[in-house]
Symmetry: C2
Subunit: 126 residues, 2 copies
């Protein structure tokens, strides 16, 4: 029994400014990871990016992996293998293994005490 209340999991909801606040990544980084195929946010008709909770979770994981010292190639591999694992583990290919399980499989949860989101002066925390 997965998670209740994930109706919004894939709904494009927040603009990049909010995502920077929630992830501690810069907009530049987020767009760069997109160039590298790590995420693919929805777009408004005007081409502005809108991220879902899925995207957010993915970006948070990217951040963790970066802090663990991985580079793009490594992160790509993690995500590729994750896709593979999902295919092996079950039906189609989408969302078989949970984020948390996944994380336990791929890297032993480092302490990573550093909180972000306040201090740098994001556009929504005065």
């Amino acid at each position: 029994m997965p998670n209740a209340n994930n109706e919004h999991e894939y709904t494009p909801l927040f603009p990049i400014g909010v995502v920077t606040g929630q992830t501690g990544l810069t907009a530049r980084q987020i767009r760069y990871y997109e160039q590298n195929g790590l995420i693919k946010p929805a777009r408004t008709n005007g081409k502005q990016r809108l991220y879902s909770f899925q995207d957010l979770a993915r970006l948070k994981e990217i951040r963790r992996l970066l802090q663990d010292g991985l580079n793009m190639a490594g992160i790509k591999k993690v995500f590729r293998d994750k896709g593979l694992l999902n295919e092996i583990a079950g039906e189609s290919s989408e969302k078989k293994v949970s984020e948390t399980e996944m994380r336990k499989i791929f890297h032993e949860e480092l302490k990573q005490a550093g909180r972000f989101n306040q201090g740098k002066g994001n556009f929504f925390n005065k």
Copy 2:
């Protein structure tokens, strides 16, 4: 046992454009209800509104009440009384009776078949 996964309940996350898409209300309406004190979204440093899931739920309820034929005064009363009820029902004054319970108390869930969110041409559904 309330709802798991409500870490984001009060986090200012989405801009008004997304809220219009999610609620079926126009930006004009949403701002008008704010003028009437029905909601009070957070603001970015640049004064742009950011809504939380709480705000969203509230706006959805407003929409239902509107569809039930209530006017501003009626809606205000509903929310005022809801606050009262919460005080009667329990401890502090915040979030005692759930949205759904509340709705059952105040108005018998009308059919309201009309779905929205697609058709009018929101900025994010091409």
